[in-house]
């Protein structure tokens, strides 16, 4: 698994842009993230769904042109629903996520740099320690593999993308109308 040096530099450059955007969006702020989870401030959802809207259209156009390949992650109910709920609890307790905590560190936030960062590394190491037991048990429960919604419903990608993007835009409209 050797990554070329130039690719490491690309990773760094993409990360700088990503971090700059996260900070400008307010996603490195504990108050903004907790505000989202308390359904008082919808900044985080607006950022995520705008990224999904623009990203989905772009990568599927490029996929159609044969420029990129997508690589959906495999999954199962035991892995994604249970793991997702555990993640959610941590999200609310920490007030940052693995990406935004890096941004919070850059922003100077010491609760992120000293408490949260150590915790995430420790928690990841704990999962690695119990992984052999989980991987043959709960992580296999309700396995559905690397399927995508177009594959699941046996339709063209755009049959999913057009309604999805419409719903996202409508949701933005509703949020703005409600002053959220």
């Amino acid at each position: 698994m050797k990554t070329e040096k130039s690719q490491l530099l690309w990773g760094l450059a993409f990360g700088v842009v990503f971090g700059f955007l996260l900070q400008k969006g307010g996603a490195t702020e504990y108050d903004v993230i907790i505000g989202q989870l308390l359904l008082e401030d919808f900044t985080v959802l607006k950022i995520m769904l705008s990224a999904v809207l623009v990203g989905t259209i772009g990568i599927h156009l490029m996929k159609g042109l044969g420029w990129v390949r997508i690589s959906p992650k495999t999954g199962s109910w035991g892995q994604n629903a249970i793991g997702g709920l555990i993640f959610g609890v941590g999200f609310a307790v920490l007030g940052y996520c693995p990406g935004t905590i890096a941004g919070a560190v850059g922003n100077g936030y010491l609760d992120a740099a000293i408490g949260g960062l150590a915790g995430i590394i420790l928690g990841s190491g704990l999962l690695a320690a119990v992984y052999p037991r989980l991987s043959t048990g709960i992580l296999r429960k309700g396995y559905f593999g690397d399927i995508t919604f177009p594959q699941l419903l046996k339709v063209n990608d755009w049959v999913i993308i057009v309604p999805l993007c419409t719903v996202i835009v409508l949701l933005f409209y509703v949020l703005e109308r409600a002053g959220l």
Binding site: G15, L38, P72, N80, G88, G90, V93, G103, I120, G123
Partner: protein
Amino acid sequence: MDWLISLRWSPYVVGAGIGILSWFTLLISKKPIGCSTSFARTAGMIEKAVRGPQVELKPYYQKTKPVIDWQWMLVLGVIIGSFLSSILSGAFDLRWVPSLWATTFGSAAIPRLIVALLGGVIIGFGSRWAGGCTSGHGISGAMQLAVSSWVSAISFFIGGIIAAYLIFGVIG
């Protein structure tokens, strides 16, 4: 160049920017944006430094090698990018306790640090259990229309909303 030093950009502009960024990471690096795997690699690197090279034989580290890779550099870049943005706008702040926390639980640093550590352990454990985080599943996987990522992202918010209401509604 006022936009570079402004405190906040519209979340729609920021999100669209991240969406466009994800086109280029796929095109140039053939990789989707993600973050949480890098913390698992870091855990492995630290474990290896302390306990020796046999750590690499652990099944998890066979799958997720404890090395610095593209995504690890991305996460490092996020720290730098956020630092630049916050310095330019004057938002950089060496602060122990976030303001919402301070108004609810007080401004002492130690309780916040303990809870942040605990929250970090839970989210680190959960992200590797689910195989991704808010960026890997919530943004990159969601735009690939992956079932695993939509199930994860929705679960992140269900768990997060319930826990946040318990913390700020019941305890706080």
